[in-house]
């Protein structure tokens, strides 16, 4: 069913049609533009950087030795007093306090070393009682962002949004046209099949400009997420991602006869990537043996490239490997879709 390369006039007309059909559906526009914005606003504000929480350190009784006063004065330590040793031990075991300091000579610090908070409490207690010399090191506090959770999260949300928009808008549009028998009607014209499929990639690129500008402006200005790479590299990475997910969307929709059928398939494709491609947490938490597999996913490559660019300021050349993965996810699904596409 492949009948040659796209022709420019029909490609332009098909793209215009796609774009108009989309823009004239307010609900579709909402899901593409407003929904990712709301999502990043909620998550972004929820996970914005905060002052680190103080360590909770327990003491037994009304002990008032000098070191207790020093712990009490330290803003990074919250002192919790217990009436009995049994109660204190129970609270420590339950993780309600991070460490216990017992009045002995010398005082004893009790903690559970597998808890990261316990290690932090140990360090703070030692500093507070003067066991560690501050002055041995000079400490400079940085105010530039990049290490907060929201800095990690935002590029992931951007990638997820590029994926969702591409897959949903195209999957639904194709299934709808198939159900309306419009595809069958197009098939009896001399229209090039490749023009039809390519028009989805083209119109996707048109929406991308608006979507990307809106989301990025929000992330940078409202959430303070850095954008350290060049605007060129950032835009190219996003455009590669958007086009790749359009191609994947075409492939997912290439056979489905109904909207319901295509919805199920889209979820099947997207949910694993939400979890495995480092949107909300780094995929490095998965066993190392599956990392190559995860890195071969389009959303992982896109998220890695977006993060490298925004947070680490990676240059264009440094993201070329990710771009290659994303490009492969454009070319292979596109031609596969063209080959197996169901027109009737």
């Amino acid at each position: 069913m492949v009948n040659g390369l796209p022709r420019w006039t029909e490609l332009a007309e098909l793209t215009r049609h796609r774009t108009l059909t989309f823009l004239r559906q307010p609900e579709a526009v909402f899901w593409v533009f407003a929904f990712p914005l709301v999502l990043s606003a909620v998550l972004g504000f929820a996970f914005q950087g905060r002052e680190p929480a103080p360590s909770r350190v327990g003491v037994v009784g009304e002990a008032m030795e000098g070191w207790v006063a020093r712990l009490e004065d330290d803003a990074r330590i919250e002192l919790v007093r217990f009436a009995t040793r049994e109660e204190a031990d129970r609270r420590l075991a339950g993780g309600h306090v991070d460490a216990l300091v017992l009045s002995m000579d010398p005082p004893e610090l009790r903690l559970d070393p597998v808890r990261a908070e316990a290690e932090l409490a140990r360090l703070r207690v030692l500093v507070a009682v003067g066991e560690v010399e501050h002055e041995a090191l000079s400490i400079e506090e940085v105010t530039e962002h990049g290490a907060r959770y929201v800095d990690f999260l935002f590029p992931g949300l951007l990638g997820m949004s590029l994926m969702g928009t591409g897959l949903w808008s195209i999957g639904f549009a194709v299934a709808d046209m198939r159900q309306r028998k419009v595809l069958k009607r197009l098939l009896v014209t001399p229209m090039r099949r490749a023009s039809y499929l390519a028009s989805f990639l083209c119109s996707r690129l048109l929406f991308l400009a608006a979507e990307l500008a809106l989301l990025t402006a929000f992330g940078v200005w409202m959430l303070g997420v850095p954008l350290r790479t060049s605007l060129f590299t950032f835009t190219v990475v996003a455009a590669f991602g958007a086009v790749a997910f359009s191609a994947v969307g075409l492939l997912v929709a290439s056979r489905a006869r109904t909207i319901e059928g295509v919805s199920g398939l889209l979820n099947l494709v997207m949910v694993p990537m939400w979890l495995g491609s480092g949107v909300f947490f780094s995929y490095e938490r998965f066993p190392e043996s599956v990392h190559p597999l995860l890195r071969a996913l389009p959303l992982t490559a896109l998220n890695d490239a977006l993060r490298a660019g925004m947070i680490d300021g990676a240059s264009f050349l440094q993201v070329v490997p990710e771009l290659a993965v994303i490009a492969a996810w454009t070319v292979v699904p596109f031609f596969l879709a063209l080959k197996i596409f169901r027109w009737t």
Binding site: R24, R180, V182, R185, V188, T189, P190
Partner: protein, 316 residues
């Protein structure tokens, strides 16, 4: 239908067969259509009309048989055929959010050559609706837009699959006028329909199909003439007296060539209306049958179909 000089043929199909699983939808069908004429495939739902026309349009691949459209075959020159045909499918629902003109502009862009879109809009009577969204069109307007999409390329052949099904009589007549306009410009039309009046009005030739086979073909007059009937008499006896009428008695009346019982009613195919009706009335009073109604009409394609198959066209 006479064999036509090959160079004057717009469509030639021989021995078409299409099976869907164990069902044979089209079973060895032959068609010939001369340029500048209109052929109607007439038959009930499920007769294989749509499958046949979709094979001719290149949408369905036949399991056997040959198709030539304007001297070209689908295998060797599909683009050449698509550039020269206009198609209206059954049940296409065009995109709703775009306007009439945007829809036509899109279809126009698929063809190398075509017509001025304003002219097409005039032809189908949608000039005033050019900026209306497709979703606001009535059923008849949507159907005319669908026809316009088939006409943008100035096609040599128009394929219409049940072009007026579901339309009210006025909308139907407007579609007929558009098709007649296309014909008068020298265009060739191949259509399917299950409305005999549509076939009688538009078609130079009809092909009556049933169960995937051609059961009659020729001009509407010739096909109707094959009944050898002057008129059709429909007889509805009043309740309670119908059992006094017998098939054999009616058939033995002068000029009656065929009798068919449908429930309490009888349909008579007669060759001499005056003699038959006179004899019929005499017979009715003789056996004591009272009439609910008695109607005579000139034979139609519907009557031919019923005579050949025992079924009505619209029974499906």
């Amino acid at each position: 239908m006479l064999d036509i000089d090959a160079s004057r043929l717009a469509v030639r199909a021989t021995g078409l067969v299409k099976r869907f699983g164990s069902l044979t939808a089209v079973d060895g069908l032959d068609l010939q259509l001369a340029r500048g004429t209109c052929l109607a495939l007439l038959g009930p739902n499920g007769a294989g009309k749509t499958t046949t026309i979709e094979m001719l349009e290149g949408l369905v691949r036949p399991d056997a048989g040959e198709i030539e459209i304007l001297g070209r075959s689908w295998r060797s020159d599909p683009e050449g055929i698509r550039e020269r045909i206009g198609v209206q499918l059954q049940e296409t629902r065009l995109q709703e959010k775009v306007t009439v003109l945007e829809t036509l502009t899109l279809f126009r862009s698929f063809y190398r050559e075509g017509r001025d879109l304003r002219e097409v809009l005039e032809v189908v009577g949608l000039a005033e609706k050019r900026d209306a969204r497709v979703e606001t069109l009535s059923g008849g307007q949507h159907q005319r837009l669908s026809l316009a999409c088939a006409l943008v390329s100035r096609p040599e052949i128009l394929f219409l699959d049940e072009p007026t099904t579901g339309l009210d009589p006025q909308a139907r007549r407007r579609v007929w006028e558009i098709v007649e306009g296309f014909k008068s410009g020298g265009g060739t039309v191949l259509m399917t329909t299950h409305y005999m009046e549509e076939a009688e009005r538009l078609a130079d030739d009809v092909v009556i199909v049933d169960a995937g086979k051609v059961i009659a073909k020729g001009s509407p007059a010739a096909v109707i003439g094959s009944l050898h009937a002057e008129s059709i008499v429909e007889l509805h006896p009043r309740d309670g007296t119908a059992d006094r009428l017998f098939h054999g008695a009616l058939l033995s009346l002068p000029g009656v060539s065929e009798v068919r019982a449908e429930g309490a009613a009888f349909t008579l195919v007669v060759t001499d209306t005056q003699a038959s009706v006179a004899a019929l009335l005499a017979h009715l009073s003789e056996v004591g049958v009272e009439l609910e109604s008695l109607q005579t009409h000139s034979p139609t394609l519907e009557d031919v179909f019923v005579a050949l198959t025992g079924k009505h066209l619209r029974d499906g």
